[in-house]
């Protein structure tokens, strides 16, 4: 098997370290990275980070793209996806773009145009759909075991992200908890509905748990889909900093045939820490990022566009934008497709 030349653009997202390590350790990948900055003070970034992770780093995006790469992974701040994605596509690279696809309609439209003119594909980094647990639910829904699917309720709760300051800067993140955690469940809904466009969204939220944050840190969202499906998502950063693990993602699907509950990241070895009495949780299970990268790299080899593609990213972004509008106005809003 010939070696794939893969670039990693930006270390802004915490997942960049995971991608760097997974790609570095693959025998079929030659990895080059570039973390152009600007970098927030006190965060391990750029050449220093690359050295710590044992990966090659170049100074500029142009230099990286001049390497004749097969594909690029973009892990920049949410609001900076567009500029790097456009450059990578125009340089002839397939792209794996960290979620959410973008933070605005305009950016998503520009990225769609770049995909179309380049003839390259864009995959959105939604790892949860690659979990076996969710796969069972997907197969049960597709096989009719749930009958008519009526209800899905999901929760994707985590800690206030603090390891990178931009996560809580609405200008760079595109918002708060609504943009960060609605999209994973919206992606799973996209799978379960076969790519249906959401119809209406109501969202409520607050900043009570983190009064100093610049955007909402708690959010509850209710969504209607075609064919009588109603969905609700808790996207709150409601895990305290002292919690033994980062959080998790669960969903329960209900239909005329019954209910199925899925706990992704839910399997843990549990115990207590003797001196404090605090709980200890050791999460275990397959690395979903690895499964997602497998799919991406396989598609780069074959040249056929993988899922979730840009349109999934656009549909899930349309739910986020509607939720943000509903939270802002206090009214239920119709979803405008992106």
């Amino acid at each position: 098997m010939n070696t794939l030349k893969i670039g990693l653009l930006s270390f802004a997202h915490t997942h960049a370290e995971t991608y760097a390590a997974l790609l570095r350790d693959r025998a079929d990948v030659e990895l080059v990275t570039c973390d152009p900055g600007p970098h927030a003070p006190g965060e391990l970034r750029g050449a220093e980070a690359a050295a710590a992770w044992g990966v090659e780093h170049v100074a500029t995006v142009a230099e990286l793209l001049a390497r004749g790469l097969d594909a690029v992974v973009v892990a920049s701040e949410n609001a900076r996806h567009r500029e790097l994605v456009e450059q990578a596509l125009d340089a002839g690279c397939h792209v794996l773009c960290e979620k959410p696809l973008a933070t605005s309609r305009d950016d998503a439209a520009a990225m769609r145009a770049a995909v179309e003119r380049s003839g390259r594909f864009l995959m959105v980094a939604y790892p949860v759909r690659f979990s076996s647990a969710f796969g069972q639910l997907r197969d049960q829904v597709a096989g009719g075991r749930l009958g008519q699917l009526l209800s899905v309720r999901g929760a994707n709760n985590g800690k206030l992200p603090t390891s990178r300051s931009w996560f809580t800067d609405p200008a760079l993140a595109g918002g708060g908890a609504l943009v960060d955690h609605v999209v994973h469940l919206a992606d799973l809904l996209d799978v379960l509905t076969g790519g249906a466009q959401a119809l209406t969204v109501s969202a409520v939220g607050n900043q009570l748990l983190h009064p100093d944050a610049a955007a909402e840190t708690a959010g509850l969202v209710a969504i209607t889909y075609p064919d009588g499906l109603v969905v609700t998502i808790d996207c709150s950063w409601s895990k305290p900093e002292s919690a033994p693990s980062w959080g998790g993602l669960s969903l329960t699907a209900a239909g005329t045939g019954g209910t199925v509950s899925v706990y992704v990241f839910g399997s843990k070895v549990r115990g207590l820490e003797s001196s404090s009495g605090l709980p200890v949780e050791l999460a275990y299970g397959p690395d979903l990022d690895e499964a997602m990268l497998d799919t991406f790299l396989g598609a780069v080899r074959s040249g056929s566009a993988p899922q979730p593609d840009l349109e999934v990213g656009a549909r899930t972004l349309s739910v986020v934008l509607a939720a943000q509008e509903s939270y802002r106005t206090g009214e239920t809003v119709a979803v405008r497709p992106v």
Partner: protein
């Protein structure tokens, strides 16, 4: 507080003999009540099944024979029955929801107040030990200021009597089932200022009907609540869960995860799901509820006993009905319903 057994006779009239009577009659008997039962159907069978109670042929006859009336008729009849009982000078316990509409529920609370009678809506979930423990923790301040609350309730679609699923009659899943958690959310996080909701139903002709709804509440203090309800196929086990997070901590519970007995046996019986949750007979919430309400009714100020206040009031029952109806309207119109403070908790 006196612990001497109350020597006065306790005469309670049970109006209605449907499914929920199984959760009332035996507990009233255990409290030492002389129970008089009136129902348009099923009264004789109910009394025979439990070996307790005396059946009468009319509501008037019942009202003549008792001091307290326990109303467990279908929701759309609550207003008429409770009004007659209050006007006959009786104190009343009424199954939830207190009435079908917000106006009717408020009118019942007003009427009780005007007549100087007590009216206690039977919101039994306040007596389930896990919800009582949650409320106690919140009241102690263990969780700080509440921020995000989630509640789920899932069980078999009520097919035994048609009025349950008839939205006009019962208010459907939101008023019949989810009013429990709407009440708990309000009990914990205070008055609700806005409501949005989505609801759905299986297609006509489904072999086993199903219904689902999700309700979002914003409380006056800024906390937000999510209430999820599902009525599914007959095999569905009754399960509930909550997850409540505040500035100082969080508490969560899942009835499915906290089962005291886990079995893996060949299927027995018809495997039908239950309409009410499994409860521990030693700590039965329906008994705890009726005991507290009856004790409160028997401790009227001025009669020498220590007056007791139960954990639920008619105003709170009416507020749960108001918020649930706002959710029904939100789901029907696809809009967010903003509530005034007018009906907020006293």
């Amino acid at each position: 507080m006196s612990t001497t057994p109350d020597a006065r006779p306790l005469r309670i009239g049970l109006v209605g003999a449907g499914g929920i009577a199984e959760c009332h009659l035996p507990h009233l008997a255990r409290l030492g009540a002389e129970v008089v039962v009136f129902s348009e159907a099923g009264a004789e069978e109910l009394v025979a099944r439990h070996g307790t109670g005396r059946v009468v042929g009319s509501l008037d006859e019942l009202l003549d024979a008792v001091d307290v009336v326990d109303v467990i008729t279908p929701t759309p009849t609550h207003t008429a029955v409770v009004t007659r009982a209050l006007e006959a000078g009786k104190d009343v316990i009424c199954e939830k929801p207190m009435a079908r509409t917000a106006d009717d529920a408020a009118a019942l609370a007003d009427l009780a107040e005007r007549l100087g009678r007590r009216l206690y809506p039977a919101h039994v979930v306040r007596y389930f030990p896990e919800y009582a423990a949650l409320h106690a923790a919140v009241a102690r301040g263990d969780l700080g200021d509440l921020a995000v609350l989630r509640f789920t309730r899932s069980g078999a679609y009520p097919t035994r009597t048609p009025w349950f699923a008839d939205v006009e009659a019962s208010g459907g899943i939101i008023l019949d089932q989810m009013v429990h958690d709407i009440d708990i959310a309000t009990w914990l996080a205070g008055p609700v200022v806005s409501v949005s909701a989505v609801s759905t139903h299986s297609a006509d002709g489904a072999a086993e009907p199903a219904a689902a709804a999700h309700v979002l509440l914003t409380h006056a203090g800024g906390a937000v609540s999510q209430v999820n309800g599902f009525w599914g196929p007959a095999h569905l086990q009754f399960t509930t869960s909550f997850s409540v997070t505040g500035t100082a901590g969080s508490l969560e519970h899942s009835s499915a995860a906290e089962r005291a007995v886990v079995t893996d046996l060949a299927a027995a019986g018809d495997g039908a799901g239950a309409l009410v949750p499994d409860t521990d007979p030693l700590d039965d919430p329906y008994f705890l509820e009726l005991r507290e309400l009856v004790e409160a009714l028997r401790s009227a100020p001025g009669d020498g006993a220590t007056p007791r206040t139960p954990r639920i009031t008619a105003r709170e029952g009416a507020e749960a009905v108001r918020v649930a109806n706002a959710a029904i309207e939100a789901a029907r119109t696809g809009t967010t319903v903003h509530l005034t403070e007018q009906g907020a908790r006293a």
